[in-house]
């Protein structure tokens, strides 16, 4: 039974590629896991262990070959692209290693983008929320700058603000500090921590960095497409 604290539940999730062909390969061999409201978890594992694949399933960017993935209690495997996209836009925030802002829009517009693609022209309330988020990441003065005019760390902070503008239940961060210097990385990490505490959104963070993983509340280790440890 999904309780009110559950954000995400994976039930025997398997993922294969090249199905039906001689080079068919299974990358995830039955993953069971649960993420609750306000969790702050790290997903670690060596290269090729299936971290990115798992993250893509969780982020509803891809759908599992077998098993079931529940987001806020809703089974998602059978959903069509339209429904999955809508669910993803509403409840999941993404932060990628390479920030990935849209170059043609200002920092503020980038923050508003997930809201705008779902609801169209932003109203006062959405604008205020986006401005507050930019202020929270310390970039209120840069609202009208284009991404090209911001530093890497600033861009990543804009990306975090963007991931939070829809008040998602789950924030997925793929190596969010991967290409930042130590000082900037620490700042970004602090921000994730702060929003996790303030908004209560669950954070799942993929990282290579064992020191970063140690500071999380929970570390899920993935080895060869199976969960090796979860503590």
């Amino acid at each position: 039974m999904p309780d009110s604290r559950e954000v995400l539940r994976l039930d025997g999730v398997r993922k294969s590629y090249n199905i039906g062909q001689p080079n068919e390969v299974e990358v995830l061999h039955g993953i069971d896991m649960r993420v609750e409201h306000a969790d702050f978890a790290a997903l670690v594992g060596p290269s090729g262990s299936g971290k990115s694949t798992l993250l893509n399933q969780i982020g509803l960017l891809d759908s599992p070959t077998a098993g079931e993935l529940y987001l806020l209690g809703k089974p998602t495997r059978e959903m069509d692209d339209e429904a999955r996209t809508a669910l993803r836009g509403r409840h999941i925030g993404f932060v990628f290693q390479f920030h990935h802002l849209i170059g043609a829009f200002s920092a503020l517009e980038n923050v508003l983008m997930p809201h705008m693609v779902a609801h169209g022209k932003p109203d006062r309330e959405a604008l205020d929320r986006a401005r507050n988020l930019l202020a929270d990441v310390g970039l209120e003065k840069f609202a009208d700058r284009k991404p090209g005019e911001l530093s890497g760390g600033q861009q990543q902070r804009v990306a975090i603000a963007r991931a939070l503008v829809t008040r998602p239940a789950l924030l997925l961060a793929d190596e969010p500090t991967g290409n930042l210097d130590t000082k900037t990385a620490a700042d970004v990490f602090k921000l994730l921590r702060r929003f996790n505490a303030e908004f209560g959104c669950a954070v799942l963070l993929v990282t290579h960095d064992p020191r970063l993983a140690e500071t999380c509340d929970r570390t899920i280790t993935l080895v060869d497409g199976r969960i090796d440890s979860d503590q």
């Binding site: 891809d62 809508a86 990935h100 849209i102 997930p114 693609v117 022209k121 963007r162």
Partner: protein
């Protein structure tokens, strides 16, 4: 549609160099279409106007005389050597009734009964062969605008007055007020007063035509009360052929439209229209291919951004619209510039060109060419847009 349009416009503005280049490309294509279509339709209208300035749209005559050949008895072979009958000048039977019937025929705007035949024109020792045309002036003017072609004197054919062509006047040394002796053979001759001189612009007609009153011509040509031709003007030029066929069916007379009389001209006009359409089609196609290739490049360049937008909840349909809107915007903007440029070219041609004729700007041409370019833009955008919509977000985000 707000966010889709916003993203589309931002994308276009960001790729400024590409956008400007393709806009210029579309504009050049559309201006060529606008200019060529205006030029050719202007040229055609001009040629038709010149041709029909001296011709009726439909010419109705008495049917030709043919030999009646008795059919051979069954079982016998017949060898036939036929001499075609001489086509003597014959009046149209019951022409008054025919005229009244034609007056009420839908699509016919003017009916002018005419009697015409050959004669000699003499002045002093000079003799010229002429064509006598007897007509009812008010009716005739609605078919041939003789009043616009007068170079001297007044437009009057009544009471012994005649109008002669400029070339004939020159050949016989005639002036307004001079006398011309007309001899139609068999002792039928008269002297007329030259009331005016006209110039239709066709040398052959200006050297031969002599306009008289209907009655005077009838007596000269020994066709009292008769007419040999009924000239007709129709409302829709290109309906002439159909109307001629209708008249043939209705009256049993010989009716020939200007389209049949000028078959070669019609052929030329049709091929011209066809080549204009082909030019338009191929230019539109290359405009469309230009838009398609620019957007295809844009989709490739923006693969990662498309992936991000998809991850953030942008639906496939929205992604499709972003690129369709870009195609439409390029089509509208490029064709607006192009249509104005084409208009400008027409203006330049009219002002500085050879000035042989004036090209009017067809009213619907600008909106039509803009519509064409816009539709072509959207269709051209369809392929890259559907590729953008089908991109797998996972792959797209990883795209370098």
């Amino acid at each position: 549609m707000w966010i889709e349009t916003t993203i589309a416009m931002r994308f276009l503005r960001q790729g400024r160099a590409q956008t400007l280049l393709i806009l210029v490309g579309i504009a050049v294509g559309v201006s060529v279409i606008v200019f060529v279509v205006a030029l050719i339709s202007g040229l055609q209208a001009n040629v038709i106007a010149r041709t029909l300035g001296t011709q009726a749209h439909v010419r109705v005559e008495a049917p030709e005389e043919v030999n009646r050949i008795a059919p051979a008895a069954a079982g016998t072979a017949q060898l036939l050597l036929e001499d075609r009958r001489a086509q003597a000048l014959r009046p149209i039977v019951n022409w008054q009734q025919v005229r009244d019937a034609l007056d009420h025929l839908p699509g016919v705007t003017a009916v002018s009964p005419v009697v015409s035949g050959p004669a000699f024109g003499r002045r002093g020792d000079a003799v010229e062969s002429v064509a006598l045309i007897g007509m009812d002036l008010p009716r005739y003017l609605r078919v041939i605008p003789l009043d616009e072609n007068m170079v001297e004197g007044r437009l009057d054919v009544g009471s012994g007055n005649a109008l002669v062509g400029r070339q004939l006047a020159q050949d016989l040394g005639l002036r307004t007020g001079g006398k011309l002796r007309l001899d139609a053979g068999d002792g039928r001759a008269t002297v007329v007063n030259v009331a005016g001189i006209f110039e239709l612009g066709v040398r052959e007609l200006d050297a031969r035509y002599v306009y008289l009153d209907l009655k005077q011509a009838q007596s000269l040509l020994a066709l009292p009360g008769g007419v040999t031709v009924i000239d007709i003007t129709v409302a829709e030029l290109f309906e002439a052929k159909r109307i001629a066929a209708r008249i043939r069916g209705l009256t049993g007379l010989k009716a020939e439209s200007w389209m049949e009389t000028n078959a070669q001209l019609m052929n030329a006009l049709t091929s011209q229209s066809m080549s204009t359409n082909m030019i338009s089609f191929f230019v539109a196609m290359s405009v469309a291919l230009g838009i398609a290739s620019v957007l295809a490049v844009s989709v490739t360049q923006r693969t990662r951004e498309i992936g991000i937008l998809r991850a953030m909840g942008t639906r496939r349909r929205q992604m499709l619209q972003v690129f369709l809107v870009q195609g439409a915007v390029l089509g509208v903007a490029g064709s607006l510039i192009g249509a104005l440029a084409g208009w400008g070219l027409v203006g330049i041609f009219n002002t500085f060109g050879p000035k042989l004729f004036y090209i009017p700007m067809p009213a619907g041409l600008v909106p039509a060419s803009m519509l064409l370019a816009t539709v072509a833009g959207v269709i051209a955008a369809a392929v890259p847009a559907s590729r953008a919509a089908r991109l797998d977000p996972v792959e797209a985000i990883r795209h370098a």
